[in-house]
């Protein structure tokens, strides 16, 4: 017996439910999967691929915890069907650190400036910040505020997150000078 749709568990497809074969390219690695067509990208990442770094808070587009990069741009993974992004490049928080575990400059900055407490919102803030700094390497404080305005945090009061974003810009600039 399959789980009822209403229990919210993305177990296997319910009887008669349409499925589709897709390739999810996550952090540079392709995964061939057969998924129910209604599977949200956030659930495909967390349950089907067991990459639980992508968090889900509200599941209707409001909180930003589930933010991932799609072809380099931040999007809400809870507002995208997994089957819609067949073959496209997805970056999750697991894709930020270097292979040797060295932190990404944005992660380093959040650590230095205490940009997190419980950490629930953090993956979304990190990916939003990574994409923002690529386009705006030297942001003003106002630009940084605007950039993170779509992400909610219940713990920090945002001041340290803002400081982290600005610190991340410094660290990223430093890294480029070295390179």
């Amino acid at each position: 017996m399959r789980a009822q749709a209403d229990d919210g568990l993305p177990a296997g497809p319910a009887a008669g439910e349409q499925t589709r074969e897709v390739t999810l390219r996550v952090n540079g690695v392709g995964h061939r999967l057969r998924l129910p067509v209604r599977r949200l990208l956030s659930d495909a990442l967390r349950h089907d691929l067991e990459r639980t770094g992508t968090h889900v808070g509200c599941e209707h587009g409001v909180c930003g915890a589930c933010t991932v990069l799609l072809e380099g741009r931040p999007v809400r993974s809870c507002l995208i069907l997994a089957v819609s992004v067949d073959g496209q490049d997805i970056t999750t928080v697991e894709g930020l650190a270097a292979p040797d575990g060295g932190l990404h400059p944005v992660q380093q900055a959040f650590r230095e400036r205490h940009g997190l407490q419980c950490g629930f919102c953090t993956p979304g803030f990190l990916l939003t910040t990574v994409a923002f700094l690529r386009e705006t390497p030297q942001p003003s404080e106002e630009q940084a505020r605007e950039a993170i305005s779509g992400n909610l945090c219940r713990c920090t009061g945002y001041q340290n997150i803002l400081a982290s974003v600005l610190r991340a810009a410094e660290l990223s600039a430093g890294r480029e000078e070295q390179a």
Partner: protein, 300 residues
Amino acid sequence: MSGGRITALKPAPFGYSAPASLAEALAVLAEVGEHAKVLAGGQSLLPLLSMRLAAPRHLVDINRVPGLDRVEIVDGSVRVGALVRHTDLERHEGAAAAQPLLRQALRLVGHPTIRNRGTCVGSIAHADPAAELPGVLVVLGGRVEASTAWGSRQVPAAEFFLSPLETALRPGELATSVSFPVAGPRTGTAFVELSRRRGDYALVGVAAVVELAPDTSISSARVGLVSVGPTPLLVDLSEVLVGRPGGARELAAAAALALEHAEPEADIHASAQYRARLVEVLTTRALAQALANASHEEAA
């Protein structure tokens, strides 16, 4: 929500097609049209599905249809295809130069992350009475191209919005593009709104278009009001502004006229009285900004 237990939010099952061409999309829609929904950016549809406020039998995902992602400036209009994301149009320099109101409004649509996925045409097809782009379409007198397997028709903005979330699109019709007329000479535009938090839907939003005569007096003025009626409202303010320079007293008279046409209602975000006051204040601000932009155009 149905059932006793509040559970994780998941869509009810649906059939799904991801057509690879426009012809295929229109053929699928012709077949399943009555019970189908088009899936564009999903930034309005997915929350409705997940909360089970909508349970269409079939989704036609247009994200793989080539050719719908173009912004073109043709025949005096900025034509925006059905897969142009808010971010793409916001960044399009040609579109911003041809019709500045587009960028002025787009930066107020949700958050950057929402704009990366949501489409301009989807926002117009969704017809939320608080959304910015429907107000822009109405104040500019644009049109929507609605297509079926048998052909397409142009629906003028004035006939497109019927009631909240309801448009003149028929079952099985795909909105293939939306056209916004380019700005004429000596024309200034502005979009101002107030929302509870940055990125939220507007409590009240005002799109203004002001044209100047060669002697710099006002030759026409109109506003599109959002969130103060079942559909975006167009108010022609020419009767109080034409031939005048647009001083404070004239703008106040124009704002009072705008308010006469508005139908502000109370909801959890704001009282009707507060919305009414916002119509006046924001109309005055939008007109003043549009006027300043028009004078700037004139000087340039």
